[in-house]
Symmetry: C2
Subunit: 100 residues, 2 copies
Amino acid sequence: MTEEQRRLIEAKTLVIKALAHPTRLYIVEELAHGEKCVCEFVDAVKADFSTVSKHLLVLKNAGLVTDEKRGQQVFYRLRMCCVPNFIECIGNLLPLPEKS
Amino acid sequence: MTEEQRRLIEAKTLVIKALAHPTRLYIVEELAHGEKCVCEFVDAVKADFSTVSKHLLVLKNAGLVTDEKRGQQVFYRLRMCCVPNFIECIGNLLPLPEKS
DNA sequence: TAAATATTTGGCTAAAATGCCAAATACGGT
DNA sequence: ACCGTATTTGGCATTTTAGCCAAATATTTA
């Protein structure tokens, strides 16, 4: 594996890492239906305002979403639009809950 | 968000978490071209045999790959075939490396 | 059955991710 | 300028993840 390949893989990993959290995955799924502001997520997710804000920052740094400030609110929208499709595919292939 | 929705999201998150590591992402990309055995990855990834084995276990538990023992080797193959497509899409939308 | 190869498992330390609180910042209205 | 709402940032304690080594297991060959 070359150095160049390694860099590319690590860049992609950053994006996937950003998705790899229930709250963030939920946020992305919501954004698939259109932009939302931070406070709308705080209501749905039961977490601190600052926690939600940090999750959104992770998504933004990964390039998954973009943000736009309008008035005192910040609106987020999905940038990587292939994600919802992928999430749905995963849902269809989910391993069956193991019988214990 | 209902309890049912939460369970579903967490199940999907497990799959994505499994992808969220450079070595594991690399393995999945390789498996897109056909099955491979553990030792083949050990050569390519510079990590301990046991480390690679554990990464493969994570992928298997997530339902991303399946394994089959033949002789003294274990061959892994990709189960969630929508993944390579998604990885490619991410590659195309990667945020540009920030100019510092 | 002993030796060699391929792989997994247990355990332990180091590193990274999470989430809360408190404080800072930004903006609009009074 | 002051207050209230929306959001971000800093800091810290807790949890999770990673990766190595050593040991265990499995299978083929001598």
